[in-house]
Amino acid sequence: VEGADSIKVLRLIARIEREYDVELDDADVFEVSTITDVAGVVRKAVAAQEPA
């Protein structure tokens, strides 16, 4: 992901963090480049939200 596209991804990540009230690791935040990656990040966010 390059330039303006990476900005869109970052805003998407910020929205996911707000919606799920989670804070993702930098590795997840900055490695995301495909829709599949985004789905993985959402799954991780949902999992983190569930009580242990």
Binding site: G3, A4, I7, L10, R11
Partner: protein, 287 residues
């Protein structure tokens, strides 16, 4: 003037700041302060107006450097003179601003005359690093978002400290990379390069630790650090509203100007907390 124009006869910082002053009148607050405001609650979308937040911010800076009537102050990167005129007009200080952009100096000089502040508010056109005849024995030095444009930070802090009296204070606020690892990773990516080269000329984002380290090495005591990130996010969101409201006016100055400005501001706002932070430091010339 084109945002992306390569104008080698200008100071590199001037590409952006020496744009037609009308551009900045459209999306900034009336004081034309081009740095973060200070909000009661920056997360509250119904909080202070941009204008009120900028006035509160200038009062905060004045309080942090103990700006008393008659205090002699240098504002590095004085822009359109918001802080110079505020300190002179509201606090009775004797203020010199310095900026490399000639259009800014004309603008501030005219405003100072209008407000009958010419006796204690003035602007020097030039680069702080190179300027030789700056006032000395100062009570305070302020640098709001300007050291980002200066490649040799230790030299900047050493020079600023040399202009201060003992117990004088320096307020410096700056956009920073969030940490050293983020800097290593993002210094060269297109989004960073876009902001740095297209808009700014020189633009050296550093992690806070590097600002602190350079301040210590220059001999300053560090009195305060403040995280202004959320405040800057809110400020830029309000600038974007201004760009949208004034899009027709901006495009009349230059076709496509509104879209370019909005894109730049959106890029800057997307990174806060992820790649970038905005911090303020108060440094004291004392043991």
């Amino acid at each position: 003037v084109t945002l992306a124009a390569q104008q080698t006869d200008q100071h590199p910082t001037n590409q952006h700041y020496d744009l037609d002053p009308r551009v900045f009148g459209v999306f900034l607050d009336p004081s034309r302060k081009y740095s973060s405001g200070w909000y009661t609650d920056p997360a509250d979308p119904d909080g202070e107006s941009l204008e009120a937040a900028q006035q509160r911010k200038m009062d905060l800076v004045a309080d942090l450097v103990r700006a008393r009537p008659g205090a002699r102050i240098l504002d590095i990167g004085s822009g359109w003179g918001a802080l110079v005129l505020h300190l002179a007009g509201e606090r009775g200080c004797d203020v010199t601003g310095i900026s490399p952009a000639p259009k800014q100096a004309e603008f501030v000089t005219a405003r100072a005359a209008e407000r009958r502040l010419a006796a204690r508010a003035r602007v020097v056109t030039g680069s702080f690093e190179e300027a030789a005849d700056l006032p000395r024995g100062l009570d305070a030095v302020t640098a709001l978002g300007s050291v980002v444009h200066m490649p040799d930070l230790p030299a900047v802090f050493a020079k600023a400290r040399g202009l201060l009296r003992r117990e004088g204070r320096m307020y410096v606020s700056e956009s920073c990379f969030r940490n050293a690892a983020i800097r290593a990773r993002f210094d060269a990516v297109p989004g960073t390069r876009f902001v740095r080269s297209t808009v700014f000329g020189n633009g050296e984002l550093r992690p806070l630790s590097e600002l602190v380290s350079a301040a210590e090495d220059a001999g300053f005591s560090i009195e305060t650090t403040l995280d202004l990130t959320a405040h800057y996010r809110r400020t830029i969101a309000q600038w974007i509203e201004g760009v949208r409201r004034g899009a027709a006016e901006l495009d009349a100055v230059e076709e496509g100007m509104a879209a370019r400005l909005e894109h730049y501001l959106e890029v800057a706002n997307a990174g806060w907390g992820y790649t970038t932070k905005h911090y303020a430091l108060v440094l004291r010339n004392a043991r």
